[in-house]
């Protein structure tokens, strides 16, 4: 409880970087993907959006990145409204895109240049950074992400983990203030997952705001300061500190993020709510 009060006080002193107001989104003008979402994200925080499959996490992130536009409601970035019309202006487009980076769930869709190096250079060259500086950035990022030996390789010849690292690198070379990541640990092996968590923590320490969508509660416990929970009817159920959300088993059960798990310990069949960070007792 004390932690929650502290967190609220800290938030009050921080700058709102992204604000969503009463966002609704309809797919094909009929299916509701998001309903009445209002939330604030503060500069420098690590914010998780959690929910079961199909709750609208990806849609919400894509709205935050101005890739799709809500059916109703407003999106603000640093107090400026982001909408189709404002993003048409080259000045605002550059202001917004160089500050907000998006890492797609499907790295294959995101990587569209011929080689790893081209991929890392694409962003900085778009920003009209000199070729020398762009190359310097690309090589520094490759060094950080252990991609140097892959620089000339076509992106389709990379493994899943390598693709994810290139996808993150391609966004980082633009040095965005906000990183939006969609299911960042999906399909990654445990070692790459650990690497990714460490990387995101370090980037946050470097001042980046990290917003990620996931249903992986372990990732949330390791990475997030605050969590927004989406329900299966596409509404925002609660925003709170990670500790508060993860200790509310009823809420997690209600939004289908944990489930009752039956398994065997020796000769005893054992039943409990399943979510690894939650401690549970084995009854005799």
């Amino acid at each position: 409880m004390c932690f929650v009060v502290d967190l609220i006080e800290i938030m009050e002193g921080m700058e709102k970087i992204i604000r969503l107001e009463n966002i609704d989104y309809l797919y094909h003008e009929t299916i509701s993907a998001l309903s009445d979402i209002t939330l604030d994200i503060y500069r420098g925080e690590q914010f998780a959006i959690i929910g079961a499959n199909g709750t609208g996490k990806t849609t919400l992130l894509q709205i935050m990145n101005g890739l799709i536009f809500p059916s109703s409601g407003k999106l603000f970035f640093k107090g400026n409204e982001v909408m189709k019309e404002t993003l048409r202006d080259k000045g605002f487009l550059r202001f917004f895109r160089e500050r907000v980076g998006y890492v797609f769930q499907d790295s294959d869709a995101q990587l569209f240049c011929s080689t790893v190096l081209d991929e890392l250079l694409y962003g900085p060259l778009q920003l009209k950074i000199s070729k020398e500086e762009a190359l310097e950035r690309a090589f520094e990022i490759m060094k950080m992400l252990n991609l140097e030996h892959l620089k000339e390789r076509p992106t389709y010849m990379l493994s899943g983990g390598e693709k994810k690292r290139v996808a993150i690198g391609s966004v980082l070379t633009m040095n965005p203030e906000v990183l939006l990541l969609d299911e960042p640990t999906n399909d990654l092996d445990p070692r790459t997952q650990v690497f990714l968590v460490e990387l995101l923590l370090a980037l946050n320490e470097a001042g980046k705001t990290i917003v990620f969508a996931t249903h992986d509660l372990e990732l949330v416990s390791e990475l997030a300061d605050r969590v927004a929970v989406l329900s299966e009817n596409h509404r925002l159920v609660r925003i709170d500190s990670t500790e508060t959300i993860l200790s509310d088993q009823d809420l997690l059960l209600e939004v289908n993020l944990i489930h009752e798990h039956v398994h065997r310990h020796g000769k005893i069949v054992h039943r409990h709510l399943h979510f690894h960070p939650l401690p549970h007792k084995h009854e005799d």
């Binding site: 950035r137 320490e205 470097a206």
Partner: protein
């Protein structure tokens, strides 16, 4: 890890303000095409949604519809009177009405397509350049008539009564054919149409190929849409046309690779479930009495429309 973070990532942008340039970003034609592709999927979705509504034609078995459809197309093509074509148009309209289809939205499309593929294509034939006839609307006069190859250019050129009659008939035929197609498509989910084609003894292998292709269309367009969004998320300025073309070419290559990979996966999945060299689709249910009655009624109405 922290010591490995490059120094430039610690830098913040120099300012939190921006200058409006007042100039819009020009989206290349090729990229607009991608958006239209995504729009196409939205159309397919709304078609699926409508085909599941409670309506008179939706309740009818797809086999009856697939059988009746060519029969009515023949009737539409055989009738030579404007009044008969109008009667057929009214009949189709009433079926659409009872099937609770969005009439305004559909007829906008139907009329547009009829205008292009019926009226505009047939319009030149209304001139007395191709067929003689009674001139109703003279357009211009020449000093004398000319002979050119097999054509005779008369001294007075205009729209003839017979020509205009032909144009109207052709336009109405096109309109009725399109209306019938829309009626079937908007009241029958595509998988049911595919199964109903068994009535005409279309081979199962062809049917399953058609069905898989249709299913893949959704996966394909989703990939295309994601690619488009991925580029949009890093797009800060205009890309020259040659750059856009190169990007599209690379993405097409990527999609071909992905499609091939998906085809191999589907094939493996089929093999693992016992596929050898022939495909057996599940037997379809027997027609209900309600479907028989609808079929017979439609046949009778068709015969009436043919002979009156």
């Amino acid at each position: 890890m922290r010591e490995r973070i490059p120094s430039f990532l610690f830098q913040s942008p120099s300012s939190d303000t921006f200058r409006l340039e007042g100039r819009s970003l020009r989206i290349p034609f090729l990229e607009k095409g991608l958006n239209h592709l995504a729009g196409m999927v939205r159309t397919i979705y709304s078609q699926w949604d409508i085909s599941l509504r409670e309506g008179i034609f939706q309740k009818t078995d797809a086999r009856i519809k697939v059988f009746i459809f060519p029969f009515f197309l023949v009737i539409v093509s055989l009738r030579k009177e404007i009044s008969s074509e109008i009667l057929i148009a009214l009949f189709i309209l009433s079926l659409m009405w009872f099937s609770r289809l969005p009439l305004l939205q559909l007829y906008k499309k139907i009329l547009f397509l009829s205008l292009i593929f019926g009226f505009l294509i047939a319009l030149p034939s209304a001139l007395n350049l191709f067929n003689d006839g009674e001139i109703l609307l003279p357009l211009f006069d020449l000093p004398r008539s000319y002979l050119f190859w097999i054509y005779r250019v008369p001294d007075r050129i205009g729209l003839t009564r017979e020509g205009l009659y032909g144009v109207v008939i052709l336009t109405l035929r096109v309109m009725n054919s399109i209306s019938l197609t829309f009626l079937i498509l908007y009241t029958t989910p595509f998988p049911q149409i595919i199964r109903a084609l068994k009535v005409f003894k279309v081979p199962d292998s062809l049917l399953i190929t058609l069905f898989l292709s249709y299913k893949y269309l959704f996966i394909f367009t989703k990939s295309v849409e994601e690619i488009h969004l991925a580029k949009k998320s890093r797009l800060l300025r205009e890309i020259p046309s040659h750059g856009a073309r190169r990007w599209i070419a690379e993405r097409i290559a990527f999609l071909v690779r992905r499609t091939r990979g998906k085809a191999e996966e589907v094939f493996k999945a089929m093999v693992s479930r016992g596929f050898s060299d022939s495909i057996q689709l599940p037997e379809t249910e027997k027609l209900k009495s309600r479907d028989w009655i609808t079929g017979v009624c439609l046949l009778l109405i068709g015969c009436v429309l043919l002979w009156i």
